[in-house]
Amino acid sequence: MGYQRDTGLVHAPHYSPEYRSSMLRAPSQPLVVLPHRLTEITGPLFGESDVRPEESDLTTQHDGEPLGERIVVHGSVRDGSGRPVPNTLLELWQANSAGRYQHQNDQHDAPLDPNFTGNGRCVTDAEGNYRFTTIRPGAYPWGNHHNAWRPAHLHFSVFGRALPQRLVTQMYFPGDPLLDYDPIYQAVREPKVRQRMISSFDLESTVPGWALAFNFDIVLAGPEASLLEEPHVD
């Protein structure tokens, strides 16, 4: 038993000098392949009792309503073989609608929103589905290069059921012109691979008169190919 490995086509190279911070922090030595033994075929598990239902709504954490466009963000968490990943913890964090994080180190000259902290959590249901209600975040400048602006994004952290499934990624919005200039997004070399991080507008899931909606499906490493090839009886 083991999990799929990235052959170099999925994740960005750690050393991606267009993203300046990586020059100081990315390892210079090749990674050593670690066969998946007991510590790697297991991992921290969470369940419904670990989160409160209201944690999935980032718009109701304060006395007033946050500013900005209300959005529903929903999707599925599956593995590479298409199998749903139920009861897995998702953590979400993001800037507010003006592009400012509720964080002491964020010095961007954009307003904080007293009604928006920008963090949420939920656990996928039995079919691997999740749903958040939040505010569409703003873009913000970040100093990586001349006039660098991050495209609007949501940070997602997902555990899966074993360490090789652990994933932290960012969800982007369709049609964002900043994606073409963003070294973090562009560090994923294959265009069709990085496009998996762009959500799709989902008219059917909009809430009339109240919120727009975006779909973002997440795919974690699945069982090793050798396992996929094994015949099985349904």
Binding site: A12, S22, M23, L24, H103, S157, V168, T169, R194
Partner: protein, 178 residues
């Protein structure tokens, strides 16, 4: 029938991960009065040896008997020990976990798996903490054996359970592809 789906790429946690990932007490895998509680601490350093003040570490390990509370362990799940901790680094790049020393696993020396997340890292980095006093178990460990002997020491905590992580440069910690 299985469907082949393309995996979602990782992206950095960025400088503000603490908004979503930091909660009080997650660095305590066990309470202070837990029998056999130990403290493992260290610093995360960059290519210049400067502290990395905005990293977060996650640990995953077996209990003191070498068992996991997890259904995919073919030996069966043993409940009672979460095995998971998370700790952000401070301005000096320091972290500190309170846990128990894991027991040996079949054919493996006692170890703790560590994932490192930080601004500047596109994806987490995985490493392992081994224990200096386990001389003979370490000598027979297949993972340590797979590592360049000159770099093996970067995976072994000191006698007083200090484990520094050098992300890049001189004394660079061994990181694994999972």
């Amino acid at each position: 029938m299985s469907t082949e789906l393309g995996l979602t790429p990782a992206q950095t946690v960025g400088p503000y991960y603490s908004i979503g990932m930091t909660r009080p007490g997650t660095e305590f895998v066990v309470p202070a009065d837990h029998p056999g509680a130990i403290t493992i601490s260290g610093r995360v350093l960059d290519v210049n040896g400067d502290p990395v003040p905005d990293a977060t570490l996650e640990i995953w390990q077996a209990d003191a008997d070498g068992r996991f509370d997890h259904p995919d362990d073919p030996r069966g799940a043993v409940p009672g020990f979460s095995g998971f901790g998370r700790c952000g680094t401070d301005e000096d790049g320091r972290y500190e976990f309170r846990t128990v020393k894991p027991g040996a696993l079949p054919d493996q020396a006692p170890h703790i798996d560590v994932l490192v997340f930080a601004r500047g890292l596109m994806h987490w980095l995985a490493t392992r903490i081994y224990f200096a006093e386990e001389t003979s178990a370490n000598a027979g460990d297949p993972v340590l054996a797979s590592v360049d002997p000159d770099r093996r020491h970067t995976l072994i905590a000191t006698e007083d359970l200090r484990f520094d992580i050098r992300l890049r440069g001189d004394g660079e910690t061994v990181f694994f592809a999972l």
